[in-house]
């Protein structure tokens, strides 16, 4: 577009003023920068310069995240926003969406990386992880980096993946900007500290010589990350740090006696929360501990529950700390370490030495059990200090907003319960949702978007949903959504549980969907209904020919539920099916699935 003469002279004058005293290189840079600026303006619609966007000459700050349940993504997002505010040109991306080898071209990398499975990379980070850990990894001598590792100290391999990246990047010649931090699930305070530190370091590290930090009016360019819809401007008012207090509408059992693992249907009201979600997303819940458990802790530890205790920037009565702020149902390594000291127990110290024994020991115990087995004379302050901050629990959203509006349905399996001595030994969140809460109560919640678990955009694409146990939850939302949007594609659900008579979650609804023609196939595996145990992977193999046909017809596969064994068994079953019916070798079948993964046609949400 043309510029009229008068302002143009004006502009030339200004530019001349500003350009005086810039050397050649700087002028070069500036010209490129201005072009990019125009392009960026065009993007935001502020101007319509026809110039093609061009990478800014200013060193861009690359922020990559490997995140499965959204925590790392949030950390990376907040970091990017603040870095931009400070004038950095930021390239923000999920490692699921990058070309792994692109790492070779980077100048700087801030890597936010969580750990999943049993010390494994999060969904989508496998490719980069594989490359970096392998012989074929590129040299990274020019790279500057820092790693922010998310983990959960109740798992044996705490922050494993973050640690691996951190060590390996250095080994490949990259220079560490600041030391890695490993954060637990109560990571917010640590995150703020780290963000401040790394940005401070970057200000000095990333300045081209002689130039002071980027002038504010040049702060437009940013790496565009379209890997998820959760852009800053659409970020809802309520989030993990500022949860919405949702009303419990209904709690109904989905299993009947003599079921061995009770599951509940929970309905919450998110009216006026401004929160938005779609099938595949999860709901985060900030749970609070049952008063019975808190009473038991107070009694056994002998502390005075009314003393006020300060921790971080918060001061509360000990009882409140225990009820609302601290993790009591999970044992973490730091706590056991602390307690080994307080109780001077040789056995605990010995346990801490043995990784596997420790892992299996904590799996079946809670804080209260340690307090009972290894008494230690302590006061409120040291008890509170020894415990980890409580973390929210995620639950797959089991309802489609198209159908239930601002109601959210969850499918909650109760972990543990009341033991033979009448003591409450249950999972904090599932117990609260399934048993403790009653309609009218309120629970703090937030929506955890899951861009890696989405129905196909192509409404006519068939979908195969594999969701044994509570893994079936998101598929209830999927089928509802496909029904509500009149999707033409066929739906095939694989469900599994112990007994058909007691554990067939939403049986009547699946039967109705089938009658109405919204669920086209339903394969079930009830492991305890016959002598030999049958699981969904068996059904996949039995019906392998049809499964393969569906895949060839462009079907999308979704796997949800137990990540310990199911996900791997199902993956193997799929490989076998593709090999058997596609006339492929194991290797080719694996590539076939890998390609589907890349094309986002093979998505998992396992826990």
């Amino acid at each position: 577009m043309a510029i009229s003469p008068a302002p143009r002279q004006e502009l030339e004058h200004q530019l001349g003023q500003w350009a005086r005293g810039l050397d050649e290189a700087q002028l070069q840079w500036a010209s490129g920068y201005l072009a990019g600026l125009a392009a960026a303006r065009a993007e935001v619609g502020a101007s319509t310069a026809g110039v093609a966007p061009e990478a800014a000459a200013q060193p861009t700050l690359t922020i990559w995240y490997g995140s499965e349940t959204g925590n790392g993504r949030g950390v990376a997002q907040r970091l990017a926003d603040e870095a931009e505010a400070k004038g950095f040109a930021v390239e923000l991306a999920s490692v699921a969406d990058i070309q792994p080898r692109a790492i070779g071209k980077l100048e700087s990398l801030l890597l936010v990386m969580s750990t999943h499975g049993e010390g494994d990379p999060p969904e989508g980070a496998e490719a980069l992880h594989k490359l970096i850990m392998s012989e074929r990894a590129p040299r990274l001598d020019t790279l500057k980096f820092a790693v922010f590792a998310l983990g959960d100290s109740s798992y044996p391999d705490f922050c494993q993946t973050g640690r691996e990246f951190d060590a390996r990047l250095e080994a490949l010649g990259a220079r560490r900007l600041i030391d890695r931090v490993d954060v637990d699930v109560d990571f917010e305070p640590a995150e703020d500290v780290w963000r401040a530190r790394i940005l401070e370091t970057l200000e000095t590290e990333l300045q081209p010589d002689g130039r002071q930090s980027t002038p504010p009016y040049l702060q437009l360019i940013r790496g565009v990350d379209d890997s998820y819809d959760n852009r800053p401007d659409t970020v809802p008012r309520f989030d993990r740090r500022n949860p919405f207090s949702a009303e419990v509408l209904e709690i109904a059992p989905l299993t009947v006696a003599p079921s061995t693992s009770p599951v509940y249907h929970v309905e919450l009201l998110l009216e006026d929360s401004g929160l938005e979600w779609q099938p595949g997303d999860s709901l985060g819940i900030w749970p609070s501990n049952d008063t019975r458990l808190v009473d038991e802790i107070v009694e056994v530890s002998g502390i005075d529950a009314s003393t006020t205790v300060a921790r971080g920037d918060e001061t509360l009565e000990a009882r409140q700390w225990l009820e609302r702020r601290l993790e009591l149902t999970l044992l973490t390594r730091p706590f056991v370490e602390a307690w080994a000291g307080l109780s001077e127990s040789g056995h605990l110290s010995k346990l801490l030495g043995d990784r596997d024994e420790f892992a299996e020991w904590v799996g079946t115990r809670q804080v209260i059990d340690v307090l009972r087995e290894y008494p230690a004379g302590i006061d409120a302050d040291s008890l509170i200090a020894s415990l980890r901050g409580i973390a929210p629990r995620l639950y797959s959203i089991a309802s489609s907003p198209r159908l239930s509006g601002d109601e959210i349905h969850l499918t909650v399996k109760r972990v543990g319960g009341v033991d033979d001595d009448g003591r409450l030994r249950a999972g904090v969140a599932s117990w609260q949702l399934a048993e403790a809460a009653s309609p009218g109560d309120r629970v703090p919640v937030y929506v955890e978007a899951n861009p890696g678990f989405r129905l196909p955009e192509n409404q006519d694409a068939p979908v195969i949903m594999i969701g044994p146990g509570t893994g079936v939850a998101p598929f209830r939302a999927f089928v509802q959504q496909r029904q509500a949007t009149g999707a033409g594609g066929e739906n095939w659900l694989f469900f599994g549980a112990r007994n058909r008579r007691t554990d067939f979650l939403y049986q009547l609804e699946w039967q109705r969907f089938r009658r109405q023609g919204d669920l086209h196939r339903l394969a079930v595996a009830f492991s305890r209904d016959q002598a030999d145990k049958v699981y969904v992977q068996h059904r996949l193999r039995e019906q392998g020919r049809d499964v393969y046909d569906w895949l060839e017809r462009g079907a999308h596969i979704y796997v949800c539920g137990d990540g310990q064994r199911m996900a791997a068994d199902v993956h193997q079953a799929l490989v076998d099916v593709i090999a058997a019916h596609g006339g492929k070798t194991e290797g080719q079948a694996t590539d076939y699935l890998e390609a589907m993964k890349q094309a986002k046609r093979y998505q998992k949400d396992v826990y």
Partner: protein, 557 residues
């Protein structure tokens, strides 16, 4: 069910096969396809669900607790030792741990899962029993008076029960194919069935053989009742009673129980032809448009006896002779010990409402292992232990006592003459409790009897959970028919020997009202009865209730 086109399903069932294979193969539900629930009845298999847990399962978004009832066909109620041992074991393996003796001398299993059905059927097939035609629109289990001590007469009547049963069994291999062999057979032409054709009968059909003076089979309630006529202990033939039945529906005055009519006498060698002629007559003339009007009793009531005799003559060539004189004294069982000509003893055990739990089953097991020849199931849900030696009697009584079984010493005459249908929780048609409630109610009634010191009086008390009348309540001196939970219609005035129906005296009454009424009757009975007068006959003579001449009056207010 009623909205199902039963006639269509029957005639398209390809000799009772339907789509049972596919129904059994579907793992996503404990049920079979709706149309197959009609077909399966002909195989003696009813789809039911545990009604006690319906609400909580609905809340849990689970389908009803579908389960199956299997009825083993036992012509004349005779069960050998080996058969009993097998049946008993199967109750634990595939049933709910109980055996249910029925009011037609058969045996029922409850609570069978779809997956267990084949194994159960194979189990009964292994001991030469079946469940084919135990239900459905065909001839049902053929009843026969039970009295081993009768010797030859009993043997001969039993023989005729077997022959009638065999002669009127539907011609199909479907039962064996589906349940025993369990592999799908693609046949282009289903079996021919000369008697039933492709659509079978318009409705169920029932035959019973009585031996006067005993009317334990309630001959007047059968579609065909054969009354054995003897001279010098040998069978010479049968009087024929036609057109009885109990079933009716509340508030539908064109449905009612009816007593069969005595239409004549046949010689033994004419029995099969005449039975077949009556069955085919019902096949051709029974109402196939309205199942509530489809029983043979209505067909006969509408066309009349002469018409039937004419049909029989046309179809079998047999002209019935005029009926021989006979007399019935009672319709209940004779309890306790009886000795036969050869000095062998037989013991009739009272089984409350026919339900044998683990304890009673264990007792009967010991008995049949050590002391008893075979079992005879009675038409009143009880069991006769046969062929016991005199010296074993004390031990037998001891075992009975120990296993909560009794032949008359412990239970009052009132209780021993009471009978309830199954009803809740398994029966899909139940409107009120029966089997689970009658024992308590009888206790209350015993108290009233004691108050008026008539506790030794035998009075038949029959309770059904709905007007279908599976315990033949309209033939009880006191009858109770369920209307709604805790509420019953109360009937009075049937005869003790089963030749007169009762009449409704209280409509939709609760326990208090029922007991109040009975208390009043007992008071009058205690004061005004004549020697040896039965309660039912007294109630009519004393004007407590007007005698019923035709079944249509039973429910008329």
């Amino acid at each position: 069910m009623s909205d199902l086109n039963v006639e269509k399903i029957k005639s398209e069932s390809r000799a009772l096969r339907g789509t049972l294979y596919d129904s059994l193969a579907d793992p996503t539900t404990g049920a079979i396809r709706e149309a197959d629930t009609v077909v399966s009845k002909f195989h003696g298999i009813y789809q039911q669900d545990d009604r006690d847990v319906r609400p909580q399962r609905r809340e849990a978004r689970l389908e009803p607790l579908y389960q199956f009832m299997l009825r083993v066909r036992v012509p004349g109620g005779r069960v050998s030792r080996d058969q009993w041992k097998a049946l008993d074991r199967l109750a634990d393996e595939y049933g709910n741990g109980t055996l249910r003796l029925t009011s037609r001398q058969a045996i029922q299993y409850h609570g069978i899962s779809k997956e267990s059905l084949r194994n159960l059927v194979r189990g009964i097939d292994a001991v030469g029993m079946d469940s084919l035609a135990a239900c459905g629109d065909v001839n049902r289990n053929v009843m026969c008076h039970v009295q081993p001590e009768l010797g030859p007469l009993q043997a001969e009547t039993l023989k005729w029960a077997d022959r009638l049963s065999a002669h009127l069994t539907p011609q199909t291999n479907a039962w064996r194919e589906i349940w025993v062999d369990g592999n799908k057979v693609e046949l282009d032409e289903p079996e021919e069935d000369r008697i039933y054709g492709q659509a079978y009968l318009p409705r169920k059909f029932k035959i019973g053989i009585a031996v006067p003076p005993y009317n334990d089979v309630d001959a007047y309630s059968q579609d065909i009742g054969f009354i054995a006529i003897e001279s010098e202990g040998r069978l010479v033939g049968f009087n024929v009673i036609a057109g009885g039945g109990m079933g009716c529906s509340h508030g539908e005055s064109d449905t009612f129980p009816l007593l069969g009519k005595v239409i004549g006498f046949v010689e033994p060698n004419q029995v099969l032809e005449v039975a077949e002629a009556i069955v085919t007559t019902q096949r051709d003339f029974g109402d196939r448009n309205n199942r509530k009007h489809a029983r043979f009793k209505y067909t006969l009531d509408d066309h009349g006896t002469d018409w039937l005799l004419d049909q029989i003559k046309q179809r079998s060539g047999v002209e019935l002779q005029s009926a021989r004189p006979f007399e019935f004294t009672h319709s209940s069982d004779r309890f306790g010990w009886a000795e036969d000509a050869d000095g062998r003893w037989h013991y009739t055990v009272f089984v409350e409402n026919g339900r044998l739990g683990p304890e009673q089953r264990a007792g009967l097991n010991r008995l049949i292992d050590q002391y008893v020849g075979d079992f005879r199931l009675t038409p009143n849900q009880n069991v006769v232990l046969t062929g016991i030696t005199a010296d074993a009697r004390p031990e037998v009584e001891h075992i009975l006592q120990a296993s909560d079984l009794d032949g008359g010493s412990r239970h009052s005459a009132l209780r021993r003459h009471s009978m309830a249908c199954v009803a809740l929780p398994t029966c899909g048609l139940a409107m009120a409790e029966a089997e689970r409630y009658l024992p308590d109610l009888v206790t209350r009634i015993e108290e009233l009897a004691a108050r008026h010191s008539i506790e030794d009086q035998a009075i038949t008390i029959r309770m059904s959970g709905c007007p279908n009348g599976c315990s033949r309540p309209y033939l009880g001196e006191i009858g109770l028919v369920g209307r709604a939970p805790g509420r019953y219609n109360l009937y009075l005035g049937a005869s003790f020997n089963g030749d007169r129906l009762n009449r409704m005296v209280l409509d939709n009454a609760d326990e208090a009202a029922i007991l109040h009424a009975i208390d009043g009757w007992f008071q009058r009975f205690a004061g005004e009865r004549e020697p040896a007068e039965t309660f039912g006959n007294f109630s009519v003579r004393a004007g407590l209730v007007a005698a019923v001449n035709h079944g249509s009056e039973v429910n008329a207010a």
